[in-house]
Symmetry: C2
Subunit: 137 residues, 2 copies
């Protein structure tokens, strides 16, 4: 497989662990050596592996955790790091997401994730005006 294929496979593994609530699998996906951060939709900027994994423990352990599917993933290589942009179909809504990976001992590990609300791609004509949260909603 190419590096791009490997990154997309790591990205899919993240969503597979998310979809089935696999916390050990989720933990294996996140980097252990590199800095780790995460911005959940509507949430604060978290950094540090312990804080990020605790947030996933809460999300994956939630009784009303929605199903999630990744759509339209595209990977961009930057040497030993790579990022993916994609859409998350989540309980009938759609989020746009960034997933940043670093190569660690030959494997692509997640170092940062951000997701935020968007419209389904087919409903979008152009980028929305750059407005603050209170105006957007």
């Amino acid at each position: 497989m190419s590096d791009t294929d490997d990154v997309l496979a790591a990205n899919q593994a993240f969503y597979d662990a998310f979809a089935v609530g696999d916390l050990p699998g989720m933990s294996r996906i996140w980097a252990e050596v590199e800095p780790v951060a995460c911005i959940h939709p509507g949430g604060p900027a978290l950094h540090g592996r312990d804080l990020v994994m605790e947030s996933w423990r809460q999300i994956l352990g939630s009784g009303n955790r929605p199903g999630v599917r990744c759509r339209g993933a595209e990977a961009f290589l930057l040497g030993e790091t790579a990022f993916v942009i994609c859409y998350e179909e989540l309980g009938g809504g759609v989020l746009a997401a960034t997933n940043l990976f670093a190569r660690q001992a030959g494997a692509w590990r997640l170092v940062h994730h951000q997701a935020g609300p968007t419209m389904p791609p087919q409903q979008q004509q152009q980028p929305m005006p750059r407005q603050p949260a209170r105006v957007l909603h």
Copy 2:
């Protein structure tokens, strides 16, 4: 300056160009060699320099463009790439943002940006539940 200082300075230059509507300055900040992508709040995942710069042309040229200030920026180095997480104060609302940089000819250039609505840090007790856009809002 350290690499971290340089990355934070590049991040601030991005927000300075944003704040004053400086499109040429904004163009100089974005990478020319590496892949470029951008997810504006509520908008689609854009990729390609032309599409990303066109989105900034629209935003910076808008008559009702709000002021923007970057707060709480933290930089994380990954060799020749680096990412910043920060908050954007924008017209009275707050967004959480990711800015990904790559070193190009000795200068840190922006390769990806995502921002999405969040709460001001002092109002946050814990990450919000992972819910889709239609539930969040």
